[in-house]
């Protein structure tokens, strides 16, 4: 037993607080939008230049001029504003966005993040990921705990080129939730249903304190 993609997204959604401006990455992070508590008011930012991102459009509402950072067609809300990419990254770099939820390939016990490049494979580019982790107040990573072959992704040091150094505040995997505090290391604070600490240890290279 462990969490599936939707349960991981649901857990990540609990990190969103009332009044937050939030940027969601591509993949599992996008699913977080489906699990936001109806009792709180959250504004989603899309880094191509939009605040107040709405759901996917109905077929007859599709607008080529209205896309998110994953290039998917979306809709606007009554609160929506549009702006240039320079203004958008001023929000991000300037620390005005409260929370970013991102995917990852590797995270180190110090909070280093690698999620943009595998040497030897075609490099697609970092897009806005480096700006987001450098500037957003709190960075939450959602990823599978280990690779399909069982190789740990939570490591002492990342082996892949970094997206940012000491930038991750929380990691949510299919096995549980970790907090990372700069200078203090990693702490396991929650286990997924049916998972025990030893299950986590077997699939983790990084050192972590157990606080569940």
């Amino acid at each position: 037993m462990a969490w599936d993609r939707n349960q991981m997204a649901e857990r990540a959604a609990r990190e969103l607080k009332d009044g937050f401006y939030v940027n969601l990455g591509i993949g599992i992070p996008t699913l977080v939008a489906n699990h936001i508590d109806e009792g709180i008011d959250v504004t989603l930012q899309s880094e191509n230049g939009m605040l107040g991102m709405g759901p996917f459009p109905y077929d007859d509402e599709v607008d080529a001029d209205l896309i998110n950072a994953g290039k998917q067609t979306i809709t606007e809300l009554r609160r929506t504003s549009y702006f240039s990419s320079a203004d958008s990254f001023a929000m991000i770099r300037g620390g005005h966005i409260d929370l970013s939820v991102l995917g990852a390939m590797e995270v180190s016990e110090k909070g280093d993040l690698a999620n943009w490049m595998i040497p030897g494979k075609m490099v697609k580019g970092m897009g806005g990921a480096m700006d987001l982790v450098a500037g957003v107040k709190r960075v939450v990573v959602v990823m599978d705990h280990a690779s399909k072959s069982g190789a740990p992704k939570l490591l002492h040091e990342c082996s892949l080129p970094l997206t940012g150094r000491e930038v991750v505040d929380m990691v949510i995997t299919n096995l549980g939730v970790f907090e990372i505090e700069t200078g203090k290391g990693m702490k396991l604070i929650e286990l997924a249903s049916g998972v025990c600490v030893d299950d986590v240890k077997t699939l983790t290279q990084a050192d972590f304190e157990v606080a569940v």
Partner: protein
Amino acid sequence: MKKIFPDAKAALDGLVFDGMTVMSGGFGLCGIAENLIIALRDTGVTDLTVVSNNAGIDDFGLGFLLQTRQIKKMISSYVGENKEFERQYLAGELELEFNPQGTLAERCRAGGAGIPGFYTKTGVGTVIAEGKEHKDFDGETYILETGLVSDLSIVKAWKGDEQGNLIYRKTARNFNPMMATAGKVTVAEVEEIVPLGSLDPGCIHTPGIYVQRIIEAEHEKRIEQRTVRERESA
């Protein structure tokens, strides 16, 4: 001086030369200067350095200029959607400089604003920072990035007037406003040229001072990822 030109071909007349740097607005296929890209291809200009967040797809946008091998170097943040790009890059036929998206946007903004360099914390501790000046401010480390200017910027707006004032529509704004400011010459293509005075002066996104030539053109506006939701049945 008349800024309105009859079509994309005429609007590029006398502006292109081999080895030039071109900024091309847009994010993915959203808000790209579709007609000016094709007209640029048709001039036969070569060895271009193209500054653009993305590289189009194989059969649309900047993909046209890749097919004909007119691009020598791309400065971009993400190029994942283009097979021909990948082929040329892996074969060593195309140079590629990756910039973080926000750094790329700010480099264009800075270039247009007469700012030759700026410090940012984006990329500190990564390959992006290698060889760049590092400087601490209030205990945090930043790297020096430079402003970018172009010989020619091609941008797409929704509406424009004979003075070159532009407004963009929704997320089709993206990189267009900064690139318009950073061109030695900027050519804009718009969906509609409207009579002078009909744009609200308080709502102009790009003031006409940045735009030297403007055309009205048809736009296909191809969609990269059409995502929809189902209507709940009544």
